[in-house]
Symmetry: D2
Subunit: 369 residues, 4 copies
């Protein structure tokens, strides 16, 4: 499936952080992509990667890239036809735009462009057709490249089990209480003095994302080419986001109101029979199973279930009646993989297989010839 030209060179933007390190690990031996640049803030640029950050993950330290010199975060310093962004939202705004303008495709975990009307908020298994907005994005902004966003880490775990329910029954309301892992706050992130043996019932700026992003993801793409646009879904989402002393894995208690008030059995069947858009595409980061429904009374649990399928599986459990909204259940997923680095890489794999990256690569090769 690789092109005759070999692997596409990529830049990792924000390579030193918790999500950036996940990008390295996923891309270190990827069949489509090849790490060409590790880019980070000016504080890190110029240092060897191993001197610029503390390696948080298991396996080979620095994914074998310890001696690579860190670049500054710009298409001049780290030119590549493909960039993965683990940048903070505030700096992502201009840096990601600069890359897209330069002709690169940016697969971004930042929130900066997620809700823009011409940027796909992509979960390949659910709304792969939303990639169709890119032509409009390029036309509207005058970019040769493009930005593709993945959702907030909590949104992914919430919307994944909702997708089959929306497709089959239609959603009328969603109530969600999350118990989120500390890795979601990055590094050093949460002080141990705050979270040890504790619950922090608030995560800054999180609830508005969880309440708005699902409507875009579950919305429809209308029109084609430069006339494409999104028609957002319309139902209320009410979120409470809390932090708990868990390393990896966001757990969400969800109640949902569905049209026609389907039974628990029907809901479970809908989830189990969901056919992801990615079926048969052979995407390297796609999980063997996208959405699993556990029948154990006390699962899913983050420490025990989160690593399965390379952290790319969503596990649902305790599907049961809700006396108010009709159905309730628990959803779990790996926040820095399914909800961050893995999500972006899967997005890029989808774009690659759909042919969307070919032009970027050609343009890049012409420039660098």
């Amino acid at each position: 499936m690789t092109t005759g030209r070999g692997k596409i060179p990529v830049a990792i933007l924000g390579a030193t952080g918790v999500v950036g390190q996940r990008f390295l690990k996923r891309l270190a031996d990827h069949p489509f992509f090849e790490i060409a640049y590790l880019a980070a803030s000016d504080r890190s640029a110029g240092k060897k990667y191993k001197d610029a950050c503390l390696w948080h993950l298991g396996g080979e330290p620095f994914a074998g890239y310890g001696d690579m010199v860190v670049s500054a975060c710009s298409p001049d310093s780290a030119p590549a036809p493909l960039a993965f962004s683990a940048l903070d939202a505030d700096v992502a705004v201009s840096i990601e735009a600069a890359y897209a303008k330069s002709g690169a495709f940016v697969f971004s975990n930042a929130s900066a462009y997620r809700m823009e009307e011409d940027v796909p908020l992509l979960i390949p298994e659910i709304n792969s057709d939303h990639l169709g907005i890119l032509e409009r994005q390029q036309a509207r902004r005058g970019w040769k490249g493009a930005i593709v966003a993945n959702p907030n880490c909590t949104t992914v775990m919430l919307v994944s089990p909702l997708a089959p329910l929306d497709r089959i029954f239609g959603i009328e309301a969603v109530m969600a209480t999350s118990m989120q892992a500390i890795s979601g706050a990055g590094y050093p992130g949460v002080s141990a003095m705050d979270i040890q043996g504790n619950v922090i019932p608030h995560i800054k700026k999180e609830e508005p994302k969880v309440e708005s992003e699902p409507l875009k993801i579950l919305g429809r793409l209308l029109g084609t080419g430069v006339s494409a646009s999104f028609a957002s879904s319309h139902f209320p989402v009410s979120a409470t986001c809390t932090r708990v002393p868990v390393i990896e894995g966001h757990t969400i208690a969800v109640s949902v109101k569905l049209k026609g008030n389907p039974s628990v059995e029907d809901v479970v069947a809908a989830m189990k029979s969901f056919e992801p858009d990615t079926a048969g595409l052979g995407l390297p980061s796609a999980p063997e199973r996208f959405l699993a429904v556990s029948d154990q009374a006390d699962r899913p649990q983050p420490r025990k279930d989160v690593e399965i399928d390379g952290g790319m599986r969503i596990t649902v459990g305790r599907v049961r009646p809700c006396p108010i909204l009709g159905i309730k259940f628990i959803a779990l997923g790996h926040n820095t993989e399914r909800g961050a680095a893995g999500a972006s890489v899967l997005n890029a794999e989808l774009a690659y297989v759909k042919g969307a990256l070919a032009l970027a690569q050609e343009e890049y090769e012409r420039r660098t010839a």
Copy 2:
């Protein structure tokens, strides 16, 4: 306020467990009551208290009762006009009845009698008038004594902030997701292998209690004397109960639908101005403040807020609009104090001050004269 007869002798049933130890600590130097018996299972009876259990609490080991010999759990072995029960529900059924039959008043943390139609499910600040059912209980069962129950530890934290809202606005629906402390499972209770760095999204038999008990507590007492009866409230409660790695303190994310859709300001005002039934009664275990509303963005937090007011305060925070039910907030309280031992002791203090215990004491003195 103590009687001329001195303190009332009490038996602690289930004295060796996590809640039993809290009873000891609260009663070791109580102005109304005096520990006369520490009763526990046959495995412990006959041993010195310090040899029968591991002391889990701070302060003086065994609350100074280390050398008291543990009695069996029966009114013959541990006769007292007043008993505090930290028994498991299955054994509580017969033991508590035997005490009540013997003429004793039982203040019980067990779930065995909570939902019985003639047993008060008491939170003194909220439904102190429910004590009025006792005459009917005694008449109906032929008991000289009586059983008074306190609610499940999660119910208390949920229903306390709801009480002023029900009184002022009227409740139409309640959705609750709890994050419960490990102490709620007793000792040894939860294995560290299960809960460390984890969330367990299920607590056996917990959700049905949280979904039913509030309706009785917020219900009305109709009639008087032997004709008294409860008129339960009617609104749906939907609960998801989870366990998190916290030692003490249940945190609950609550959404509530109120009649007339009051504003956040009105709701906060209702909570802040709530006058507990216990005001002015001088109950020794009553908190200085029953219901506090925090205005810090990330409070209440169990490890930081739970011990205030001897663990008897309920703290609410993050009162804000819910796009589905109207209002949402966070509630927190100390599960083994406000939700267990402290709750039972406060119930007994109310009964004492209301004069309900005088007959039991007289009867006891006559028998033991």
Copy 3:
């Protein structure tokens, strides 16, 4: 390297516990061995494995053996030429002997036979020649099979870095303070009420094992055949064993007095250049690197370093001068792999490659023919 006869059938004794499950995971797809029986206490025997225990590990639940029916722990109920024992010491005494008598080779994680004069206490990388005691064991006890023990989980992490130092310099004294993981206490094992946010500075019966086992492991095998015997090493070991809130991985602070007071550099060189006895044998469970020395100032750390090399690597760090004994360092290893299941399996692999299991297998085939 497998025999013409195919894989050797094995029984796992104590298959339902924390270590038993590790055995399943390691043996589920082993090139030499094949799981034939899962044996456990009478309480579990007759049930399907998935109904007999809670699966604690990641990956495929029950390692794919969920539907195998659990056998009783005896050579009649679970006959196999090879048994892996995760039994408690008190029941291991008779059950392991019964297996050995029946002709089976038992690779045991139990402490029951560890210090017996005719039982090898084996770490294949260190004292592989101790297998030479088996002929004496069989002659002395009239067994056709044999018992091979692996050391206590803390002993392994302590003695592994000591072995090269003893070989090159000679040891005169060892002081060790361990910080041990909760998995070492099995399941349910340690109550979360005891260990959360805490240190328990005592582990029952642990220190005597850590103080005595190294002397046997580092001792010499004298003589051959039925006249073989062990000459124990002679130096004092002083151990303090504590429990800390870590899931997997025992960390040990070690001080050691060596003959000739070698420098830190010499000690590091000795560790790094240590050639394990297993080099070149192709044992499937042998780590790529037996003993690693980290040069990072704050490593090794259990949560970050313990899983490397399938949990079979020992990592040492902070080698530095000790003003009292001469050298001090930190050692870390995976207690339920390197210190338990993985240790036993590696022992069996060594015995297999050395040909020691061939007779057991033949005898078994003759019996079952």
Copy 4:
């Protein structure tokens, strides 16, 4: 015992941090001292205290001083005859000297002056006579005020149980492995990503302090007045300092070589009968019991034992033979009270009662009259 002049006004230097907050809590209602200034870095100066920091402790938020405006850390901005310093060592050097020069007495938790030859490293129960060096300090440095240091938080827990052993038997060598709480690193201090479910086997710059400070503390004061000097003790101390996921309380595994190799019974008797120098002085922060010896097999434990006696008690357990050095035991104490804020306050109370503060106060009153 208060002077006719009323309480002495004090400044708290570094008032916003973990230790600074402990100072506030201890001094908010102190019989000798009165908080006059909360001083902190320029970043905080000018803000209200409640806006300058997050309050980490229980009880009344900000100890009631939330509205006090924070001063800069200098004797001009925060003039007081008495200062408590929770400053970092690097800034403490000049700021503490400026205070001492201005005539103030500084009771410091910083390491800056601890090992200076003319600064007492004080534990009032052990070496109260070391205050006698102050006249020399003032003469040598030309200060009207003075600096009194308390030891490193780990040193205190180590040296307290050693003091009676040194007095009665004489110490020849000490080996210590600490398991230290995260609060010792301040706030935000340790990242939860680093310490959750983990052990960090290194604490920067800690071991040299633990290896040197005990020798000064247990040394003798020679001479008097301006000719006074310290004669340090001479024995090797070997320390390994680790961080564990505990909120408060440093646990230390100690082995000690004593002259004459006394028995365990003799050692326990020496600890139990130790008469602290503070006996009978009525110091408000002195614990009811300075040094307790537990006879429970698994105590002391930080989460369960550390708060006793206001955090000012040292608890020892597991006194037993060490096959290498003779005696080993476990010691525990509260690192931010006994090892920091409480230590400094107790030092000041001793100085107050000994009359050492009277001149400072008079000088201050003259200046400010």
